[in-house]
């Protein structure tokens, strides 16, 4: 059962999100209006073939815009997921650390050292497998 009081905390966040969205769309709309008004005496806004191609330093783009990329980017993403999940596990531990230090000091300290130790072994493995080397 979700506590409704806890959810009410997020009402200002929702309103802030609404204001932020309104701000972003509003300024974009304003720029259209102001731009039309400020440039009313000029002939602008018409598109030409050359103007609408992707800007690649003035060269005519060759081939598809979404070309193949180095596999290293995917490797970084996978490493990120591994370590990010570990950080997620660290959060609850970090919150209770201080209060558990009163009665179960060795338990909370030792469990964290074990966790970080196992993680460190995994880190050394990734390092030895040259997962962090950008040049292959």
């Amino acid at each position: 059962m979700v506590d409704s009081q806890q959810l009410r905390e997020y009402v200002p966040v929702l309103i802030l999100a609404a204001v932020a969205i309104a701000f972003a769309f509003g300024t974009l709309a304003l720029s259209v209006v102001v731009g039309k008004w400020a440039n009313r005496s000029r002939r602008t806004g018409h598109s030409t073939r050359v103007k609408d191609i992707a800007y690649e330093c003035g060269m005519i783009p060759v081939g598809d815009g979404s070309s193949r990329l180095s596999v290293k980017f995917y490797l970084v993403a996978m490493l990120f997921i591994l370590f990010d999940i570990e950080v997620v596990f660290l959060y609850p531990w970090a919150v209770v650390y201080k209060s558990m230090l009163v009665d179960h000091a060795n338990l909370i300290f030792g469990s964290m050292l074990t966790f970080l130790g196992i993680l460190f072994v995994g880190y050394i493995y990734a390092l030895k497998k040259r997962a962090f080397e950008w040049k292959s």
Partner: protein
């Protein structure tokens, strides 16, 4: 009658905010019917955030251009208004009147949505920061977690921008940006976990309350930056936040000399301005979090200075960090991609994990009660983080000797 009440409430609200009093909105809210009060209250809370930070953004762009100009031995903008102080206004008007060009090959909807998707989370991140003694927009229990959650969603917008432009440089810039941001997010979060551990709470308000004491007769604040793990964590947090906000020396995603402008290449007009603004907003937000976590939030550096309104201290510290960012931008050259990722994974990650252990030991040894225990804890912490720092730095830089470069043909 009701208009008089309204203005009285408005005046009281401004007066109470200015003088650091609690319940600033109470009188103004009493004018409205009870059912509308939560919404009105939220609007009153959030609209100053956007107003204040938009003003700060305008001032910072000018400060940055002026400061960089001085660093590079030139004057910076000085034509618009006295000393160029109206330059942000001119920039804003220029952005508003520029034509919005969408490339023919681009995915128009995603291309349009990317700046909006970027602007919204960066503004949302301001919701949980305490700006003063009684100035917290949303006092959330899991505030730090919320901050990192919305902060991480900006990566999506950058990828949307890079991918939808169908431009090789944009896509490469976006991929680099994501690789960099996710790599530095881990040290950023882990260095903040050490503070959460010591404070025992995810709430920014509680974390600041823990730093509200003064030692040595009110002249040494009890800020977390003044501990061995806090100093190391603060420096790592700053480096990681430089990378998170894509600022020099970590500006390879938009390295203009190699990638045109990265994911910003195909943006013009006010969409570009929104990207630019979101970048600065992100910098403010992450600096504000650094102030909250390590620099004591809105607390004064000395006890007798607590009579100065608390928000003054918060914004003074925030602007101090922003000036540091500008200084770094003017001083340090850009990294290469491999150097950047090596630095994140081989140096920052092990050191931030170790810093967590140092923080745990720091608190674990708080029970020590022999003479000189305080100094002993300090030295233990400093050695635990300092020795690996030197060792890791030596090991990673290899056997390369960095000496003064000699130019044979340029004499």
């Amino acid at each position: 009658m009701i208009i008089g009440e309204f203005f009285r409430g408005l005046f009281l609200m401004i007066w109470r905010v200015a003088t650091d009093q609690p319940e600033a909105k109470a009188d103004l809210l009493a004018v409205f019917p009870p059912s509308a009060r939560p919404v009105i209250s939220a609007v009153l809370t959030v609209s100053p955030i956007i107003g204040i930070f938009a003003t700060l953004f305008a001032l910072t762009t000018l400060l940055e251009r002026k400061g960089l100009g001085r660093i590079q031995n030139r004057l910076g903008p000085n034509r618009v208004g006295p000393f160029g102080i109206l330059q942000p206004v001119a920039d804003g008007l220029k952005m508003l009147t520029k034509e919005d060009i969408i490339p023919r090959s681009a995915d128009a909807l995603v291309h349009f949505l990317a700046p909006v998707v970027l602007a919204v989370p960066t503004i949302l991140a301001f919701a949980v920061l305490p700006y003063g003694r009684n100035l917290v927009p949303v006092d959330m229990d899991a505030g730090i977690l919320f901050f990192f959650a919305v902060g991480a969603s900006t990566e999506l917008a950058i990828f949307m921008a890079g991918w939808s432009s169908r431009n090789k440089y944009s896509l490469l810039g976006a991929m680099r940006a994501i690789a960099q941001m996710i790599s530095y997010e881990i040290p950023l979060i882990i260095s903040s976990v050490s503070v959460i551990m010591i404070a025992g709470s995810l709430s920014p308000v509680e974390i600041i309350a823990q730093q509200g004491r003064y030692l040595a007769g009110g002249f040494v604040p009890h800020w977390f930056v003044l501990t061995p793990w806090g100093l190391a964590g603060f420096i790592m947090f700053l480096i990681a936040s430089l990378a998170e906000s894509n600022r020099s020396p970590f500006d390879i995603p938009e390295a203009e000399s190699e990638l045109i402008a990265g994911h910003l290449t195909e943006y013009s007009g006010f969409k570009y301005a929104l990207f630019f603004m979101a970048e600065y907003f992100g910098m403010f937000a992450v600096s504000g979090l650094a102030v909250t976590l390590f620099l004591g939030g809105w607390h004064a550096p000395f006890e007798f200075l607590e009579i100065v309104p608390s928000y003054v201290w918060f914004f003074a510290k925030l602007m101090g960090l922003v000036c540091l960012f500008i200084w770094v931008r003017g001083t340090v050259p850009r990294l290469r991609v491999d150097q950047l990722l090596n630095f994140a994974w081989k140096f920052m990650l092990p050191l931030s994990l170790l810093n967590l252990v140092v923080a745990a030991v720091w608190h674990f040894t708080a029970a020590w009660e022999f003479p000189g225990a305080g100094l002993g804890r300090w030295l233990l912490g400093a050695v635990m983080i300092g020795v690996p720092y030197v060792w890791l730095g030596r090991a990673l830089s290899g056997s390369k000797k960095i000496t003064q470069r000699t130019y044979r043909f340029a004499d």
